[in-house]
Structure formats: structure tokens, C-alpha cells
Amino acid sequence: MYALALSMAITINFVVPRLIPGNPVQTKLMQLYRLGIRLGGEEFVEKYSRLFSLDQPMHIQFINYITMLSQGNLGFSISFFPATVQGLIITRLPWTLGLLGAAVVVSFLGGLLLGAFMGWTKREGKRSRLTSIVFGASLFLSQMPYYLLGMMFVYLLTYLLPLFPYGGGVDITVSPGTIDYVVSILYHATLPALSIVLVSLGAWAVEARGLMVSVLGEDYLFLAKAKGLRERYVFRQYALKNTLLPTITDLALSLGAVTSGSIITEIVFTYPGIGSLLFNAVQSLDYPLIQGITLIIIFGVTTSALLIDLIYPFLDPRVGEK
């Protein structure tokens, strides 16, 4: 299934930009021309068309594309020429990975535990007002798109109460490799991360609570109580384990949505990740760049999902049994 997704993605990635009539190099030149930049005439277009192999028939272009791909060559960026697409991506990728990775881990683990607790407190039919409030908040948050939260944070915490910096990944006046640098990175990443984390956490909490509530009704929990086992132990070994395991497959599925959301968040915060790079590429119609980034994103998400799916059977003893 992974292979299918990947090949579908690559094909879409390839075909779609080429569906537009016209020559992108020419279009770009015209744009630049209007801005007063003259780079050259017909021969220029020809030369670059050959460079981007735009003059070849489709299937040859496709073959070229695949060969280039396998060599890790994603081509040149039109707008940032002579920078290569892969070069650009490599500079931006760590930022996104850091932001996304941290956000996903924190919201997944935190949200699940929170949800499990909330569900657990329901076991004797107790109604805690605090839990209801927290649950309501989680429910509300889980419905929001990341960027909405992002916008509000920008306004509240950047403008109204300037607690956080707006934009950028790091303060450029600070030299890299120092503690200050690291602090600055974290400082700049807080708001975008928070936008993502709050929403995701809410969603995971809601899911975990639901699962926990259904686990509570199971026979084995009843027996655990009849066995006279200690509560904390029952929570850990009987309730929690059974609640959390099914969520792992959901994690794999959610990666696509989280990535999508974070792209927009990056744009709102002008955070120097892949998302905003994609945005720039779109604005300047830099097709190789757009293609390259989309490819990397799809590749990253599907690979992570695949990894998770591979690990899951080792965690859950029920899988693979008759």
C-alpha cells in the first residue's frame, strides 16, 4: 500500500504541473520582464527549456524525472536559480521537522494521557467539574484549524502583549552554536508549536477519553477489580494499555493532516520551514520547487506512516493471531 501511495504521489506530482499550457520558463521570464528585469530572449528560453528538459515529449520527461529522482536530484529552482531544489529543501527541512516532530510527540503523548485520566475519573460515575471543563475545552480546541489559533496567538502574544517574537526561526543577531542561539530557536518556535499542539492535544484527549470509557465497561476491568488489584496498577496495566494501543494506528493516519495544518501555520508565522518555502514557490510559480517540496512532504508522511504500521504488531499481541 505504501508503494502504491508513493507511486501515485510521484505521478500526480509530475503530471499536474505539466498540465498547464505554456512554457513555465517563458511565463517566468514574462513576469520578470514586467518587473523590469531582462534576462534574455529566445535563446535564453530555449537554453533553459533544455535544462529543465521541457522540450522533450512527456514520457521522456517522465523518465528523466525518475532517473533524476533516484539520484536524489530534484532539479533546479526557477525562482532561486541557481540554487537547487534539494539544496533549498535541505536548509529548511530541519526547522519543519523539529517543529512538527516536537509538536506531534508532545500532543500525542500528552493528549492521550490527559484523555485517559479524564476517562478514568468516570469509572464510579463520579462527575468532576474540573474534568468536564477540561474535556469541553479539549473538544472545542480539537475542532479548530491550526491557523486560526496561530492568528490569535500572533495577535495576542506578539502585538498586544509582546511576549513572543513574530516570524522567523531565530534571531539573526545571535550567533549560531551558542546557548543563546538555541534559546532563540525555542523562543521563536513556541507560538507555532503551541498552535499545533493545543489543537492536536485536544483531539487526542477526546479520542483517548472515549476509548478509556469503553474500556471501563469491559469484563476484564471488572475482573481486575474483583481480583483485588490496586487501583493504580489496574489503571496502568489494564486500562491504559488497552486504551492506548489502538491509537497508534490513528497516529499514522493523522500525520497527513497534521503536516497539512503545519504548512499553513508556518506561513502565518513566516517560520522558515518547508511550508513557507512551498508558499513562496507557489507565489512565484516555481514548478520544480513546488514539485520537489510536495514530493518530499508526501514521501516523509507516507514513510512515517509506514514505519508506524510496521512497528505496531510488535506492540500489540493481538495482531497477527488467528
Binding site: Y220, F222, K227, G228, L229, R318, E321, K322
Partner: protein, 319 residues
Amino acid sequence: MGPPLLEIENLKVYYETRTVPVRAVDGVSFAVREKEILGLAGESGCGKSTLAVGLLKLVSPPSYIAGGKVFYRGKDLFAMNDEELRRIRWKHIALLPQSAMNALNPVMKVYDQIKDAMEAHDGKNPGADPKNYVLTLLKSVALSSRVSGAHACELSGGMRQRAIISMAMALKPELIVADEPTSALDVVVQRGVLELLVDLREKAGSSLLLISHDIAILSEVVDRLAIMYAGKMVEIQDVYDIFDEPLHPYTQGLISSVPSLEKGGIPRSIPGLPPDLRQPPLGCRFYPRCPNASEICRREDPEFKEVEPGKFVACHMNS
């Protein structure tokens, strides 16, 4: 049989609904003695399972304990705090719930599930050898050592049932309450499980409260038989006596509905349905279906009392 081990006094367990509570167990009193096998019979919905859950205070909403007391060796279980009650559970009184087959934690090995009960009550004993003990336990229920490391999904229904029984035996409790331990099993396995449970009296000196809707099965293994109807206890007698001379009309009906090789003929069933337990009638609950009923039965609910030594019944026509 020895002195009373478990004494239940006027136990009431109700279920909350939007309107009136359902009186699933409405004032039941009886005792289980040491080294005794007491059978508890009754049709579905008569409250026997609720009774089993209620006596160890294992009820959860919407059901609740509405009254009564349960004494274990003289100690009032309902007056204890959670921790004291926790220590009694499983170690002294072990409840094998209905559909125990689903009561195995799907993500834990059988070995771990037996061990955790041991550790929760006896603590971690550095000298003891839990692994071997578990294997011995499993062997005594005719399960191979492979089961020890297996998970619930790898075992058949009968195997799971036996695994849970071995779990109950692990701490050598003084009383095992088994709720329909054989209902979902095929006949061959049924016999094996029954024999197992009964053997415990010899091997470990445990008493057994065996709950079932099938009096035929019960009659083969129990010392005394208790009959419940519509949330109330209606008769308790020594098993031979009760078949010889059942005192309560309901018991009489039950017995004649069991096919018999000796007597032959068509078994008779009891016409009618049990009453709605949200609004139980003022009089005897069996009144509408009773062939011997009279005016007093309609008005007054008969008291459950000992009419002769060892014979208890709740019936106006019999006291």
C-alpha cells in the same frame, strides 16, 4: 460442613433508572458454611448474578447497594474501607463472573495475570518461585505450560475459562463464587470445569457458591440448593431433601420442568412471566403463577424463614 463463612443479611441491590429503581435483589438472606457447596438457582433476571456482584460490593452505576449487610467470618464487609475490602477480594472470596471467558486482559500474558493477583495480595516473595507455581496451577486445570506465555486471543473459550479458574485458585480462597461457570461451554468441557470446582473442597478446603439457571447440573454437585425468584430467596434445602420434597411451588415447577429418564413423560413448564421489578407486587411475587395460591398470598409477601431445621422457605402455604 462447618460454621458459617459468609452471612448475608437482607441484602438489597437496586438499579437506578430514570423513574423507579429496579429491585434486582430485594432483601435476600442466607449463609454459606465452611467447606460447603451451595447451589443458587433461578431463571434469568431473578437477581442471582446481581447478588454475586453485590456481596463483594463490586457494583457500579447504575446499580447500587440499597441495604443489608454481608458478614465474612463475622466482619461486616460493607463497613470496611476500600483497602480492607480489596484485601478480602480474591484472596478470601473469589468471584468468577459470568462470561469469564472475556475477562482476560487481552494485552497481558496469562502468566502475568495470575502473578499480579498473587503480588497484589501477598507481595513479592523473594524466595518463592512464581513461575513454577503458575505452571502447577495451570496443570491442575488441565492446561499446558504453553498457556502460561500465551495471550487471551490464542486460547479457546474453554481454555480461557479454565485459565480464569486457575487464577481464582492461585490464592487458595476460602470461598469461590462461580457465576454460570459452564453456560457457554460445550458439554464435555462443562463436566471438566464442574469437577474442577468441586474438587477444590477436597484439595483446598474452599467453599463454593455455584450459581446457575440449570438445576440439573447443580443437583449433581451441590450439598444444598437455594432457589431465587424475582429478587427474593424462596427456598433453601439440602439437595436430596429438596428434590424429594420441594416446599415452594416455584421449586416444584422447576423440578418438574427437568426431563427425567426415570419418570418419563413430558416436562411441564411454568406458565406466565416474572413480575416487573420496578414495581413488585405487594403480595407474594409468585402469586400470579402459583397453582396453590390463596387470598393471603395476594396481599402479603411471605417471610423467608426456617420451617424445619435446615429447611428455609418463603411461602404462606408451607409454614
